[in-house]
Structures are given as C-alpha cells and as structure tokens.
C-alpha cells in the first residue's frame, strides 16, 4: 500500500473534523478498504479509524421500539446483541463472511460502501431503516443510489442505523461459490402496514425493492402469493457465476423461501 497517516479519534466530532482534510478516508472495519489499499487501488492521504468511538458502538432499543445499532458495531456484535430484538437481522449478521470478517467488519462500513452483493443493504432497505449520520437522518429508500453509490456526502459518517422491528422477517442468501457474497440475497420484512422485499446481489443498480412481490405479499403473506411473479432479467448482473436470467430466477426462489421461513 501507499503511505498514509492514520488518526484514531474517540468522538464523532473529532472524526468529522479529521475527515475534513483533503483525501481523508474513513476506516470502519477495513474489510473492503484494507484489501483495496494493499492492491494500491486507493491512495488516501489519511485514514480516520472509527473503531475507537464509543458512541458509535453497540445495539440498543429506542423509545419507538426500533433497534438502534451504532455505525461502528461489528457484525459479530449485531448477531449477538440484536438477536433478542430483531432475530432476522441478527441472523443476517451472523452469516456475513467468516468469523474474522464478522469480528472486524461494521454495519456502517458495509452501508457506506454499498457493495452490490453485500447483505446489510437488503436488511436496511427491507426494514425501512433510517441511516443516521453526523448531520442528518436519511431514509433507506433515499439512501441507496446504485452500485457503490449512496446519499452520503464527502466526509459524512454513519453514526447509527435504526431498524423498525417487523412482525416477521427472513433473509435468504444464495452464495456466490467463490466469494460467498450474495449471488442473490432477498430480505422479506412484514410490518403492520405492509410487506417490504429488498434484493441484493442481483441488479446492476445495487440493492432494490421488488414492488410486485411487496404488493402480492401485503395482500397475502404466503409463498403461493408469489406464483407467477417474475423479475425482469434486464439489468441483472451476468458474470462467471450466473447469468442475469439465473439471478432473476433466484430472486423468485429466495423470496418464496424467505416468506416460508418467516411465516
């Protein structure tokens, strides 16, 4: 990697200040950024590590019942501490990567990176989560703006993510055989006011909501409600591991399985 400076602030305010410098880059768990640096594909002048900021750590339940997760909370912590409050989310966190990834990678890092095959974006979008940053709150529906693209401004830090807790939820991930990222992942969440279905891994535009499935499931929360519904293969990722047609098919399979598992 190229040489860089590193700062380890202990407060959000200090982190935001440190990120004002030119070419400064926030460092979460580093599960994407560190390999990128080692490949010399990025050359930040300064890394600002968020892992020492106590106010960005941990899982709690807000007054409105939402599960609130600090932006620097690792997947392993979420899988443990959210289990009693939002088991579908905790189960998702417990299957990201391997133990080393789960003990370093963070929810804020994952959402800020918005890898098109990452798991957390599906949970956030299907849950109608709120992405809380150092200066605003962003609805998940407004946050994800395409592959590796989000509503975050330069230097903006995800401090917390708030997940309204659904009546039932499940995430089905079909693994890409090599990376074991999601070839297709579908998160289904059933709320009192309707069902939300978010798909990761499949689309060239990153995570998306499957509106037809949401409408069908809101009317009848059963796998059979999805019979005959398909996702258009246009715009789906096609690569060594599967065509767009295959991914579109897997969206249907995973959605049915998620509904069955959640029911």
């Amino acid at each position: 990697m190229y040489a860089f400076d590193i700062e380890r602030p202990s407060t959000i305010a200090d982190a935001v200040a440190a990120l004002q410098g030119e070419d400064a880059q926030a460092l979460g768990g580093g599960q994407t950024l560190i390999p990128t640096l080692k490949q010399r594909l990025a050359a930040p002048s300064k890394l600002v590590s968020l892992s020492g900021i106590g106010e960005m750590q941990g899982v709690c339940v807000g007054d409105d019942g939402a599960v609130c997760i600090g932006g620097a909370t690792t997947h392993a912590t979420v899988s443990r501490e959210a289990a009693a409050h939002y088991p579908g989310l905790a189960a998702l966190a417990s299957h990201i990567g391997d133990p080393a990834v789960r003990n370093r990678g963070t929810i804020g890092g994952s959402l800020a990176n918005n890898d098109p095959a990452a798991c957390y974006p599906a949970a956030a979008l299907a849950s109608g989560a709120t992405i809380v940053t150092n200066n605003r709150e962003i609805a998940a529906d407004d946050y994800f703006q395409g592959m590796f693209s989000t509503a975050l401004d330069e230097g903006e830090v995800i401090t917390e993510v708030r997940f309204p807790v659904p009546q039932a939820a499940n995430y089905q991930k079909f693994l890409q055989p090599a990376s074991r990222f999601a070839l297709v992942g579908v998160f289904v969440a059933k709320y009192a006011d309707g069902v939300r279905v978010a798909v990761t891994g499949a689309s060239e535009n990153g995570v998306f909501r499957w509106a037809e499935a949401e409408a069908a499931l809101s009317a009848n929360f059963a796998a059979s409600a999805l019979d005959g519904l398909t996702v258009d293969a246009d715009g789906m990722i096609g690569d060594l591991h599967g065509s767009g047609t295959y991914r579109a098919h897997l969206v249907g399979v995973n959605t049915k399985r998620a509904v069955e598992a959640a029911s």
Binding site: Q39, F174, P177, A178, L240, G242, S243, L250, V253
Partner: protein
Amino acid sequence: MPKDSGIGASPKRREDLRFLTGAGKYTDDINIHGQTYVHFLRADVAHATINSIDTSAAATMPGVVHIFTGADFEAVGGIPCGWQITDRFGEPMQEPRHPVIAHGTIRHVGEIVAAVVGESLEQARDAAEAIVLDLTEKPAVVDMKAAAADGSTKVHDDLTSNICYDWGFVEENRDAVDQAIKDAAHVTTLELVNNRLVANPMEPRVAVGEYSRSDDMHTLHTTSQNPHVIRLLMGAFVLGIPEHKLRVVAPDVGGGFGTKIFHYAEEAFCTFAAKAVNRPVKWTSTRSEAFMSDAHGRDHVTKIELAMDADNNFTAVRTETYANMGAYLSTFASSVPTWLHGTLMAGNYKTPLIYVNVKAMFTNTVPVDAYRGAGRPEATFQLERVIDKAARERGVDPIALRRQNFVTEFPYATPVAVEYDTGDYEATMAKLEEIADIGGFATRRAESEAKGKLRGLGVNCYIEACGIAPSNLVGQLGARAGLYDAATVRVNATGSISVMVGAHSHGQGHETSFPQVISEMIGIPEDQIDIVHGDTSKIPFGMGTYGSRSLAVCGSAMVRAAEKVINKAKKIAAHLLEASDADIELKDGQFSVAGTDKSVAWGDVTLAAYVPHNYPLEDIEPGLEETAFYDPANFTYPAGAYACEVEVDPDTGKVTIERFSAADDFGNVINPMIVSGQVHGGIAQGVGQALLENCAYDEDGQLISASYMDYAMPRADDLPFYTVDHSCQTPCTHNPLGVKGCGEAGAIGSPPSVVNAVVDALQSGGKNVTHIDMPLTPSRVWDAMNNA
C-alpha cells in the same frame, strides 16, 4: 491388534508438531543479512509488442538497487522444457524460447516485463510504477480451436503455427481404430472440457538468491518439490552454473500439487540477480501473482468415441484432444497430455484398439503443466464419463457394463504401450458396493425426493501410472532426464540413523512414514531415525516428489541402501560374535547367531563401525553409510472404484455431495492414516474441480478468475465425510516394498463420479441431460435443467 510401529502402523505425523505450532521453516522465513527485494512488473495485457521500456525515472527513485529488463537476460538460456515430444509425422515438437524476462513480446498476462531490485519491497514497487512501457497490443490467442485454424494470430511469430505438436498414439493403430468404430454395433460419443485449474498451494512461491564471492558459490532457496531438478535445469540450461557451484535448498514447503515441480523464471532471476547486484535477492509471491504466474493445470477440450459390439463389449476408443500449453512450454507441460494421458486410455478395461490424438496449443495464457494427477485425471474423466453415457444409451447398469469389460488377468499389456503388473478391479468394485451401500441407494433417493430434491448416484473406476519412471523407457519417449531416485542411509555411531532422500516432503508425511520402513527392517524405534530432504548439499542426486513416486521410487532406493547397511552390519556382528556372517540374523535391533543365544545389539555394532578397535579392518571399511540409486522396472498401477451420491436442488441447481466412497488398491500400505489423508485431500481437489474451480480467461486474454473472489476453492462444508478403504491390496510386483503410490488417486478418481451422479440425478427428475461441463456450478446445472 493394529501395529503401533513399523510398516502398517499409523503413528501420528511427527512433522505436524512444528507445522501446527508455527515452528515450520519456510522459504519466506529465510532472511539474509544485506538482502534486497525484487518486485516484478508484470504484463497486464495478454499479447503485445514491446516497443520500449523506459526505466530512467524509476532508476533514480529512493531505494532502487538495480532494474532489470529482458535485454539483461539475452546472454543466458531460456527456461527449458524437460520433455521432447515427437509428433505423429515424426517431427519434433515446436519449442519456442521461454525468456526469463519478456524481450520484444509479451505473451500472457502476468509475464515478467521488468524487475526492480530495491532496499525494500515497497520501494521496489514504487519504482516499478514509474517504469514507462510503450506497447503495441496484438490480438490475443485464447480459444484453442481458433488458435489451430489457418490464419490465426500466432503466439510465437518464429513458429510455423500455434500447434506445438499433433501427436498420435498409437499411430500405427489409427486405421484399425477407425475401422473398428465404423464396424461397431454402437458408438457413444461425448464432447467435454477438462476445466483449467489453479493449484493454489497454501504457501505461495518464494525464491531467495544468494551469491558468495569468496567461493563463487550460488545458493537458491526456493519452494520446490525437487531441488536437484531445479539445480540441473537452472544451472545447466539457463545460467550456465556448474553443479558444484550451485546449491538449491527447498526447506519446509507448504503444498505443491505439481505446481512447484517446475523451474520458474523467478528462480533464475533471483539467482542471476544476486550475483549481479552482489546482494541476496528475495521474492515472495503475492496470491495475485500466484494466480498469473504459477503454472495452471488441465485445460483439455476432448471428443471421445467408445465403440461396442452387440453384447456391449468395448471394441475401440478414439479420442481427439486439444491441450492448452499456454504461452510457453513449462518444464513437463509437453508430457502431460501425451505420455501421462494417452497411456492411460485403456483404463481398467480390455478395449483392444485405442487411438489418441492430441493437439497441443500455444495460447496467450499462463503456461499449463502438471497438477495433481497430471494427464491421468483427464484420461479417467473422459473414459469414465463416456462409459456412463454408453450405459445409459444401451440401457444397462453402469457398474455391470464396467465389470463386463474389466481387465481380469495380469500382467496385462494394454494397446497403449504400458503393462499393468497387477490388480484386481473386481475386488475394489465389490468393496465399493459394500462401503458405499449401493444397495441402499433407492431408499435414500426416495427420501431425497420426499424433500423435493433429486438424488443421483455416480460410480467410476480409475487406474493411474505412478512411480515415474523407468529411465530407459522415458528416455525413448523424449524425457530429457532420468527418473530414478536415490537415498543415503547414514548410521551414526550410537545407532541412530539419518536418511538423506531425493524425495521431497511438502505435505506427504515422509518424515513419519519413511522411518517406519527403516524401523521395520532393523527393529529400532522410529524416533531413532530422521529423514533429511530438500538441500542439494546434503542429499544425493534424486529427482524429487511428484507423480505419487516418493515411496515407490525413493522408498525403494532407501530400502536398497538399508539392505547394504544391514549386510555390512551383519559382517561386523559376525566378527564381534565370532560367527559366520551367513549365520547372522537381525531382529528387533539385535544381531544373533542362528540357533544360539549369542547376540549383540544394533548399537554395539554401529559403535564398533565408528570405533573400530575390535573390527575386521582387513576385510571391510569402518563406518556405516550406504547410498543406493533405484530405477524402477515399470510404472506402478494403483486402481480403484469411487462412488458419489449427490442431491440437486431443482429450484436452484445447487449440488450437495451427500456421500462419497473410495475403494483403492495401493498395494502394500506403510501408514494407513497418512494414506487416508492423501485420499481425503485428493478427493477435495477432485470435487473442487468437479463443482467449484474454474480458471477462466476472457477473449482478450484477461484472467477473470484472478482471485478468491472469483476462483472458488473447496471448503470443508462443501465436502461430506468420506468413506475410504484401502484394504484391497495387490502388491506391486517389481519394487521391494510392493507399494504403488496414493497421492494423486483421489484427484484422479473423483471428478467423473461427481458428474455421473449429477447427470443421474437430473435424469431421475426427467431431465434429458447427458453431460454438463465442469465445474458443475449451480448456474450451469440450472441452465442444463432448463434447456433440456
């Protein structure tokens, strides 16, 4: 009672203590005072003319010691190929120069274009980014059949075409085979791909070059399976260094799988550069470099035809294979699709007529060479797949069809030039039916179907030729080296023993199993015996470890040397016991006079050899150390039968392996636990090939599976618990231990049974799928199901 020591016992592997506690000493652990680091600037295009390389800015950067380009290596030799193939027209193969550093032309992504030697690796890497290349890109040659066409872009302008050789075997049988296929009652035809693989040993390659001006001595520390082979190839053919001025050391090596047999450009570079800059030069491959510079494996495209008479007896086999060589000929590349492949096309069957045609192709890809099994998996896969297809076409049981055609009398001379010395294919098949519970399959299939899954059973046989090789035979076939091995048994004064062996252990457990043999012969504890390997300054000139040869060839040399030691020790014992040496018996570490209670201990005899106060000095020399070279009389022929049961998820195409059983005949077995471990690892690699691994290039010659993000390695949860059995033992008839070799069997024997099982599962679900090319990823299986 199982034995607790000696031949047939399963002591735990002594080397694992250091490997598992971080005490192994690997090449990257070697750091020498004054050491420099090399960073290789590698091509990121597949095919280009190098117009110029401007290193002037880079040369002035901090920490740069020296920058080398192809021009610096014009005066030395190219990387040699160790096997010359003669084509079916009697002409030698086309053999292009394989430069240490590309000179004038880039021929594959990953080829070395320049080398920066720096005080630190980061400084060398910084400087490499400042090197300015002026390239003119050329079309990449990737597809083998297109490469063979007239008018194709040539990988090497100085060759007549991209065809390295067009080989026919046995050429004299060509017309007879054609006629037999015309006359057959039934011909089954199958076109298939044997997918290209990356070996991916856990330890990437490393080379540290060192030069001593005081005695003009070169030393190369390297991750090699055969240090003497590297010394010979690099010293004699590339750098012109005589053996006595070149030492090659391969310490602990973290897995080879064939890819560390070969002499690589990086080894020659570090050795050359160490003298040029008069400093040690170190290179440690990154995983990314390994993907584009370690020789790849397999990569055959084949059409096979199996002819049968009206009673389903095999009458002929004809194959046409395109075999990828990559951009240059790696060390044993040319031998893999020919002598290690064509000679195995009889399989376990008495097919009377066989013709194998292989067109070896140059392409703008990484060189391809031996990978666990090397040619034999390719032969086994096509034969065992076409037999399965034939059984389905003829409506007969695939096991019965195999049985009907088994070779049953030994020795058996095949129509493809080899003679199986011994075997019992019926026994391994019967053992397989037992351990795999073939009879219970129908019940298990019904259980799977009740869960909505398709269940399939796949069976195959395999045979391989191991213990390479009789030197006079392979010499006639074009090998440019002898393939004997050597061992020195050095008995120390107090009776402990060091055995210096030409074989190299990089996962095989020689340090445990070889002493078991010596312990059995002499009757002293195994912990009194150590194996020394991996350093040309310590070991005799043996040829190393590959092709499941270590025990069959080097182990035989060790036995011969130990026999010489024992014969001499008996003479010493006879002197001490005042008896005739013909009457001396050695048992449990005691020499005794037959029929008496007179005896002397092993340690007293060995002490007498080195403190020869009371010693027959007039008849024999002091000391107790003997060397033997062993050149095998034939290959060995391990064989067996494998069964795989899969479940296929019809909604997604995902295949899971539910059961896997292997019945192998390895002849005599020294350490059953180690043998089981070798089979386990081989099956993991075979299943990896069948379901997961795929080294893929795009049409521009870019490697698109260049990291673990896209190259799928088998993980523990991809594999079932195996049932392995090696109780069927027909000992090899021509080596002293009766052993055959077990290292490659799993990788050879497993891919066909996996694919056969998946096809069986899909057929059971009403899908008319007769073949899917490996790897059988979920998307490929789903596509096949939905296009059937």
